[in-house]
């Protein structure tokens, strides 16, 4: 059975290569910072299970200090110039898209066809991790095809990968940091405290007020916690079930479904949902870290109003 460990070894080797290539990059004045940063990430992927909890904590502290004190530079591996790229684009034409198409194709095949496959009663891949495993396989297939079709130097995937990783920089690790923060918040009881405040002090005496408090609360709580999954049990248990379902007799399927989607309106507006909102700003080289969030806010607010109206109209039909 292919497990998540396979993906981790692959990722660990990739980050180790980024670290080694960073160390030899004399153009980058902060090359040792980059080498150490990606090196620590590689250690986490290759040996994280053997470091112990405190060992991992120290590793995290190292990452935060390197990033926080500006030791992270931006490597500039030798690459093709814009003029060369335009020439190559004309030369290769639409063949350039074939390796890129392998990503959705192989992921779709993996998730839809390979996931249920069993060999001698053992699944081919860990069903819970089928998407990530399929993505790793898709990258291997895509890279093999790209190397064959496009005849770029053998080291170019790693050098170009490092170029992109340095473009994203510390933001690449932020989603994982925030996931860990969520766990510490849960341990400290932060979610419960906010849920208690919301359900104790907000008006829920009319149907419309209760629907609004639940939907807006889902969005606001999601903004604070960075993900709707953390907000859902707290607010649904605190407001939706006792008041909307219990007192007003609403349809729990409608309320649960639209409640979750109201949380997603919050996800679009918070920097804590870093992989959706901050990583793209870094990837697209936008000078304003919050540019993507600003583009999303009008849609998110309108969708929140839509969700309140939909829940109010759909959940209480006789």
């Amino acid at each position: 059975m292919i497990k998540l460990g396979f993906v981790y070894v692959l990722a660990g080797l990739m980050y180790a290569a980024f670290a080694l290539l960073s160390a030899t990059d004399r153009v980058n004045r902060k090359r040792w910072g980059n080498a150490l940063f990606w090196g620590l990430v590689a250690v986490s992927f290759l040996a994280g299970d053997r470091l112990g909890d405190l060992g991992n904590g120290v590793l995290v502290l190292g990452l935060a200090l390197i990033a926080g004190f500006g030791f992270l530079g931006r490597g500039q591996p030798a690459t093709t110039s814009p003029a060369e790229r335009t020439g190559l684009a004309e030369q290769f034409g639409n063949r350039l898209f074939l390796p890129a198409l392998m990503l959705p194709l192989v992921v779709a095949i993996g998730v839809l066809l390979l996931k249920p496959v069993q060999i001698g009663g053992v699944p081919l891949m860990d069903p819970k991790q089928a998407t990530l495993i399929s993505l790793a396989l898709a990258v291997i297939v895509g890279l093999a095809l790209a190397l064959a079709l496009l005849r770029q130097p053998w080291a170019s995937p790693l050098q170009e990968g490092r170029r992109l990783a340095d473009t994203i920089g510390w933001a690449a690790l932020l989603p994982q940091f925030l996931a860990a923060l969520g766990a510490v918040f849960a341990l400290a009881g932060v979610g419960k405290a906010i849920g208690l405040l919301t359900s104790t002090y907000l008006p829920v005496d009319t149907r419309l007020a209760a629907v609004s408090v639940y939907c807006v609360g889902m969005a606001a709580f999601t903004m604070l916690m960075g993900n709707a999954f953390a907000a859902f049990p707290v607010l649904t248990g605190g407001i939706a079930l006792p008041i909307l379902v219990g007192h007003f007799g609403g349809n729990p399927a409608v309320i649960g479904s639209i409640g979750m989607l109201s949380g997603f309106c919050g996800t679009l507006m918070t920097p804590l949902a870093a992989n959706f909102n901050l990583v793209p700003s870094a990837l697209l080289e936008l000078p304003d870290r919050y540019a993507v969030i600003k583009a999303q806010i009008p849609t998110a607010l309108l969708m929140l109003i839509v969700n309140v109206v939909l829940m109010y109209v759909l959940a209480f039909r006789p």
Partner: protein, 222 residues
């Protein structure tokens, strides 16, 4: 209630744009401290959860492929295709991408595209090229706006249509939470009730994209 100071650390730290990795660690320390945990205990709890969540950072395995395709001119090729099409605008192009992304997410294929593997190498350069077709080379600020809108469109399309697929994590979370509260519901009913929101998202964000086109046209004439 003092444990909520951790949330305050996040809000203030992000607002004054300190390095977010440090802010997150400080927030964990703050909430942990008021919950009666020592800094070393918090660091260990954080390290444990960090290790458990490595799958989040393994998605960057696509970087070498995306980078090599960029080296070979994939962004230039994507832009060239747009440059030869008639009547294309950034907004209209993003509307068609949104329709495709919503339709595939609704049948469970939300992971076939994304910010790293699709928006950076293909969608953002194509949207920028579409602006250029009608209005000539855009100013840098306009370029940034178009790119941000491309990223936003990808997020919005996925968020409001992935729940139409029954086996989505968020649908199953709703079902399992309701089950623990003694309300048994078929996941399909959760999915069905997310369809009105998916349609509304297409209408609202689509309308915004059309307005975005007009704004782009004005900004280049001014």
């Amino acid at each position: 209630m003092l444990i909520l100071l951790g949330v305050a650390v996040i809000v203030v730290g992000f607002a004054v744009r300190l390095n977010p990795l440090l802010v997150v660690l400080l927030a964990a320390m703050t909430s942990g401290w008021f919950a009666g945990l020592s800094p070393l205990q918090v660091l260990a709890a954080f390290g444990h959860a960090f290790n458990e969540n490595r799958f989040v950072t393994s998605a960057y395995l696509v970087l070498p492929l995306v980078g090599m395709l960029e080296r070979a001119g994939v962004r230039e090729r994507a832009a060239a295709i747009i440059a030869t099409s008639r009547g294309v605008t950034a907004g209209r192009f993003l509307i068609s991408y949104m329709a495709l992304r919503q339709a595939t997410s609704a049948v469970g294929l939300a992971t076939i595209a994304g910010q790293t593997q699709t928006v950076r190498p293909l969608i953002a350069p194509m949207a920028e090229a579409a602006t250029e077709v009608r209005d000539g080379p855009p100013a840098p600020e306009t370029r940034y706006l178009v790119r941000a809108m491309a990223a936003a469109t990808d997020n919005i399309a996925v968020f409001f249509s992935e729940d139409v697929f029954v086996a989505m994590g968020s649908v199953l979370l709703v079902v399992s939470f309701l089950t623990t509260s003694k309300i048994v519901i078929d996941p399909l009913r959760i999915s069905v009730w997310s369809i009105p929101t998916a349609l509304a998202a297409f209408a609202i964000h689509g309308a915004r994209l059309l307005l975005f086109d007009r704004r782009l046209a004005r900004s280049t004439k001014a």
